[in-house]
């Protein structure tokens, strides 16, 4: 199979290799265009975390002492950011489900490229969306008076946690969508995310929990991810460092939790993708 290029030379398309990075860029670009042209699909994922920051910190402001530094906003802002990142991830699952329903996904499946590239493109879009939401919520929280005593390292650990969560949530959504190939799977995707977030230290520290919820929160990987996200915002509840700051002891459990979650959900998504076509 050949083609004539501009200079009249023959280009062997049979051996032309599809550039994975070009495809990832193209998929991310399509997603950004989608946001621009149909903002209604993006706005809720931006508004909801901001809404959570405002309502949760307002409602629980009286109980500031519970959160370690007397400031409910510092406790809830990282949680809302993580939630926004998770929304950003699952939105990619929803848009992929729509692509299945319209048949557009066939176009990707018919292309001679690695199936991992397809997943990579989706994750790229999830990460980009989560950067938007994380930044937006952080700005709103800062305007609202949140302090980051952990400094730049604290902000970095927050972004790291958010990006990781968006990837994990996207993999969860994609894994389900590759199997069901329909937007009907949406509620299951959301339930998974809500369960994972709200059965952790999303709302209050473990010390303030009792019974089964405390037990579940202790083993829920999200607890350590939130701990990492909050490292720069509130004193650690489990192993407080000598002085306030982001300590390795707060970071590594979160990093391990993220890595483990991403590996498990990555395998889930890859296996789902492999079921689709030969």
């Amino acid at each position: 199979m050949t083609a004539v290029d501009d200079a009249g030379g023959r280009v062997d398309l049979g051996t032309a290799r599809t550039g994975s990075m070009a495809i990832v860029r193209m998929m991310v670009g399509r997603n950004v265009r989608g946001i621009r042209r149909q903002p209604a699909t993006f706005i809720p994922t931006l508004v909801m975390p901001i809404f959570f920051v405002i309502t949760f910190s307002g409602a629980f402001g009286f109980a500031g002492r519970v959160f370690g530094n007397g400031n409910a906003l510092s406790w809830y802002a990282p949680m809302a950011i993580i939630q926004g990142a998770a929304f950003a991830g699952v939105t990619i699952g929803f848009s992929t489900a729509r692509d299945f329903e319209t048949g557009f996904f066939d176009r990707f499946l018919l292309a001679p490229m690695s199936r991992l590239t397809l997943i990579g493109g989706a994750l790229g879009a999830a990460v980009l969306r989560s950067v938007f939401t994380t930044t937006a919520v952080l700005v709103v929280a800062t305007i609202g008076g949140v302090a980051v005593p952990g400094g730049a390292l604290g902000v970095l650990s927050l972004y790291l946690a958010a990006l990781g969560v968006s990837i994990a949530a996207a993999l969860w959504g994609l894994g389900l969508v590759y199997r069901v190939q329909s937007t009907n799977v949406g509620p299951i995707i959301q339930v998974g995310i809500f369960v994972s977030i709200f059965l952790s230290t999303a709302q209050v520290p473990i010390a303030a929990m009792s019974g089964w919820l405390a037990s579940v929160a202790r083993v829920n990987p999200m607890t350590n991810i939130l701990r990492m996200a909050r490292a720069g915002f509130v004193p650690d509840q489990i192993a407080p460092p000598a002085g306030f700051g982001v300590g390795w002891s707060e970071m590594w459990p979160g990093l391990v939790a993220l890595a483990g979650t991403i590996v498990v959900l990555g395998l889930f998504a890859i296996r789902g993708m492999r079921r689709l076509t030969p």
Binding site: M1, T2, A3, V4, D5, D6, V11, L13, G14, A16, R17, T18, G19, A22, I23, M26, R30, R33, G34, R37, Q38, D99, F100, E101, T102, G103, F104, F105, D106, R107, F108, L109, L110, A111, P112, M113, R179, V180, Q181, S182, N184, R275, L276, T277, P278
Partner: protein, 364 residues
Amino acid sequence: MTGDTGQGDAIISATGLVRRFGDLVAVDGVDLAVRRGEVFGFLGPNGAGKSTTVRMLTTLLRPSGGTARVAGHDVVSEAGEVRRRIGVALQDAAIDPLMTGTELVRLQAVLFGIPNSIAQKRGADLLDRVGLTAAADRRVGTYSGGMRRRLDLALSLVHEPEVLFLDEPTTGLDPMSRMALWEEVRYLNRERGTTVLLTTQYLEEADQLAGRIAIIDHGRIVKKGVPRALKDEVGSPTLMIEVDADQRVAAEVLARYGTERTVDSGMLGIGLEGGAQQLTSVVRALDDAGITVVHMELNAPTLDDVFAEATGRRLEGADETESDVDAPPPTPDRTEDDPSAVTEGQSGDEPPRRRRRSAPLRAS
């Protein structure tokens, strides 16, 4: 079966291709051989297994049994190589309504690793060929059905495939758009040597475009060959008569002139063995029996007759609510054991039933 070709010179070949969805057999041992450079028509009613077969040949669906090769590569073990060499326009134009025509062409080029310099020129040429230059920068959501189909066709050609699969390319199109698409298919085949496998439920489409056809019904190929030869096999023309008297009496009279043929309900049909010369005798005999003829027509054998001979029912105007394996998948038939892809009550392993169409269709 006539017109079969050996698998040796075939650019598309399938042997014993089977696809099951749970207990349902959507494609039941299809053997197929399409020669390089031909237009091959895959004809059958909704739910016959056309699209499922195409999805297997285009690597979108894993066969449950049998083997298939396209452009020299196995559709399962060398799926990537097959994808590189084929262009596919599926039943529902797979197009993102938020993107423009130009953006979609660019996307397709990226997916196939075509350098930007080539992609730009080729994309512009293709959009021009399908008459979409003026609409190229408009969102596809604003396109008509015909424009979407033409864009889909252009997209399937961006990487200059050796083999083009068109799954019901003109379903839902107006006559003008249909003819424009036919012309494009002819051009591709004649001028560029592209092998085309097209599925259709339109007899005229298969007759107009295909050098050879295969008729599929209930997942099995029931006839294969050159359209003219298949029609010749049917032999005598079909005489269709509507009478205002007892049909049984009329049928007894008609039986003297030929064998009964499946026609629309409310009509009587025979293969008129003596041809047009016998028409006068038939009318006279009916008149002698006191039967008034309300409507009469004599048709040379068509592919519909071929289909009726093979399956016992008519394809033209067939009830589209019939079993629907091929229906565009809201929950598509990609997963290995998804029975939802097949409508209840349809089973590919049923033998072809001989029955008349229930919906009345008045011939004119």
